[in-house]
């Protein structure tokens, strides 16, 4: 392991306490809602705020007592914080200069990094004349120029518009893969998290609530926050083999599970009927429409009942079924798309 940290930061009305391990070359993404403590964790790793307790070990060396300027850590800040009075080249050369290299050496290194980022022709440009994507690459080059063992990125894509974001995201993924130290990235955007992370750590209220590979977390969320992020209906109930009982309803699922268990299914696995459907499909109940909203090219219907669920239907179905709030409706969920796993 390259990074092994226990980060505890206590403030009035806030407490952050999380364990974090990151392997060599691994990208770990801290995902969580605003105010969860992700950025605080990052700042603690960088040495910008002190730990209340805990430790930070990087390549076997304890660094939690070192000041920020002596930690082998590179940081890409949210909105980058490129020095406005320095050219792109001097921004990147800043770190090597501080490490005691000569001006010529530092600039040579900076030029090489900018070159690698495809920014050779922008080296003499001041930050305010750079586009968002260019600025982000300069910020990354600046952080990498100090040859850090730990790279920290705080919402690296948040400052970009939706269009450039797509492009920059995959490019950033490539560059992070090329970096051989440990990387910790903070985001509140699930898509960024999924694309950029080797491993996701979900943080809520200052604590880790779920941890694992992005695909695993997308399939099996363990909190409402994660379920909402990945667009799943999630309930907690009691499993007894092939069924999970939630709020008096028995859900049939793909997996067998016993004891406390989660049930998760996507909104598109939910079907709505005006009258009780024929036959006896499993996972069927009656509810009342709570709200209807447009969601991309389909309609999301929120149905209240023994358990509140979201269902995705086509606009045509809305007209046909007369899905207006307050109407009673029958709900069924496909067992084949329902996953159950231990809580």
């Amino acid at each position: 392991m390259t990074l092994r940290a226990r980060i505890v930061v206590r403030r009035p009305a806030f407490r952050l306490d999380l364990d974090l391990t990151v392997g060599r070359g691994e990208v770990v993404t801290l995902l969580g809602p605003n105010g969860a403590g992700k950025t605080t964790a990052l700042r603690a790793l960088a040495g910008l705020i002190p730990l209340t307790e805990g430790s930070i070990e990087l390549d076997g060396v304890r660094i939690e007592r070192e000041p920020a300027e002596r930690r082998p850590v590179g940081v890409v800040f949210q909105d980058y914080l490129l020095f406005p009075h320095l050219s792109a080249l001097d921004n990147v050369a800043f770190g090597p200069r501080c490490q005691g290299r000569s001006k010529a050496e530092a600039r040579a290194r900076a030029r090489e990094l900018l070159d690698r980022m495809g920014l050779a022709e922008f080296s003499s440009v001041r930050p305010r004349r750079l586009s968002g994507g260019q600025a982000q690459r300069v910020a990354l080059a600046r952080a990498l120029a100090v040859e850090p063992r730990l790279l920290l990125l705080d919402e690296p894509l948040a400052a970009l518009d939706a269009h450039t974001r797509l492009e920059i995201r995959s490019e950033l993924r490539r560059r992070l893969t090329a970096f051989d130290g440990a990387t910790v990235l903070v985001t509140h955007d699930p898509l960024d998290a999924m694309v950029l992370a080797d491993r996701l750590v979900v943080v809520e209220d200052g604590a880790v609530v779920q941890e694992g590979a992005p695909g695993e977390i997308a399939r099996r969320p363990r909190t409402d926050y994660v379920a909402r992020l990945v667009g799943l209906n999630l309930f907690r109930g009691e499993g007894d083999g092939d069924r999970v009982t939630v709020g008096g309803l028995a859900f049939a699922a793909e997996e067998r599970v016993s004891g406390p268990a989660f049930v998760a299914f996507p909104p598109r696995a939910v079907a709505l009927y005006r009258t009780r459907p024929d036959g006896s499909p499993r996972n069927l109940w009656e509810g009342r429409i709570d709200g209807v909203e447009r969601h991309g090219d389909h309609i999301r219907v929120h149905v209240d009942g023994p358990v509140p669920v979201a269902a995705d239907v086509t606009p045509a179905a809305v007209a046909e079924l007369d899905l207006t709030p307050g109407r009673r409706i029958w709900v069924s969920v496909k067992a084949a798309e329902t996953h159950a796993y231990p809580a």
Binding site: G47, F83, C98
Partner: protein, 245 residues
């Protein structure tokens, strides 16, 4: 606006234009003007050296007594300059707390010297610089300093290479205010440094004494001081604007 301009217009209207050239050529006038410009500039440098770190302390650090220190910084603004001059005498005078020691150790005494003029001007002008720079520091985003720290910059490097350039406009504004205040300084200077032509008689002192006997000469001297300072300030301004573009 009229409030600012009318007194100036009064000076211009009453100026004895016909005798102006010969009055300007008087060696005493040239001497006082030269002394004023030199002392105000040196005082500004002194204020920069002492004031910028002080402003940084006030804006960026937290220590017991910081509020008190900030209040103290403004004391020279509130104090009648004459009293400021007396206060300086009590400290740096021949029998003052520090002055006594200076005199016995080095045989050096500040009052009635050109260095004394600089001290008096710096004392009175310092708050203008400190307040301007502190304001600029507070307005500057401290996250840039954090970014610099993560890049391995020591506190001093951060200050020199990031903080100072970021607040440069504020520092310049403060220096200009400081210089202008030092140039017009009268009360503390005459009290602490006395009045002797060529050594401690700056323009404002010359103006005041001229006023006793020859009000017209006083007007001429005031206009000279005014014209020179306006020309210098305008010149500097053009230069900064040129450098920034």
């Amino acid at each position: 606006m009229a409030f600012l301009v009318l007194p100036l217009a009064g000076l211009l209207i009453r100026a004895p234009w016909s005798t102006l050239p010969q009055r300007l050529a008087e060696p005493q006038v040239i001497e006082a003007l030269r002394l004023s410009l030199v002392t105000a500039s040196v005082a500004t440098v002194v204020c920069l050296v002492l004031g910028v770190p002080l402003a940084w302390l006030l804006a960026r650090t937290d220590f017991p007594g910081r509020r008190l220190l900030r209040a103290l910084v403004t004391v020279p603004l509130v104090l009648p300059p004459v009293v400021g001059g007396v206060a300086l005498l009590l400290v740096f005078g021949r029998r003052g707390l520090v002055g006594q020691w200076l005199e016995s150790a080095f045989g050096f005494s500040l009052p009635f010297t050109t260095a004394g003029v600089v001290v008096a001007e710096a004392f009175v002008a310092m708050p203008f610089l400190v307040i301007a720079v502190e304001g600029a520091l507070r307005a500057a985003d401290p996250r840039y300093e954090e970014a610099a720290a993560t890049l391995g910059a020591s506190r001093f490097t951060v200050f020199r290479r990031v903080t100072l350039p970021l607040v440069a406009p504020g520092v310049l504004a403060g220096a200009v205010l400081c210089w202008a205040r030092a140039l017009g300084e009268f009360g503390a200077t005459i009290t602490f440094a006395g009045n002797f032509p060529g050594r401690t008689q700056t323009m404002p002192l010359a103006v005041y004494l001229a006023l006793e006997t020859e009000p017209e000469a006083a007007i001429v001297l005031s206009l000279v001081l005014l014209a020179v300072s306006v020309v210098i300030l305008a010149g500097l301004r053009d230069r900064w604007v040129g450098a920034a573009a």
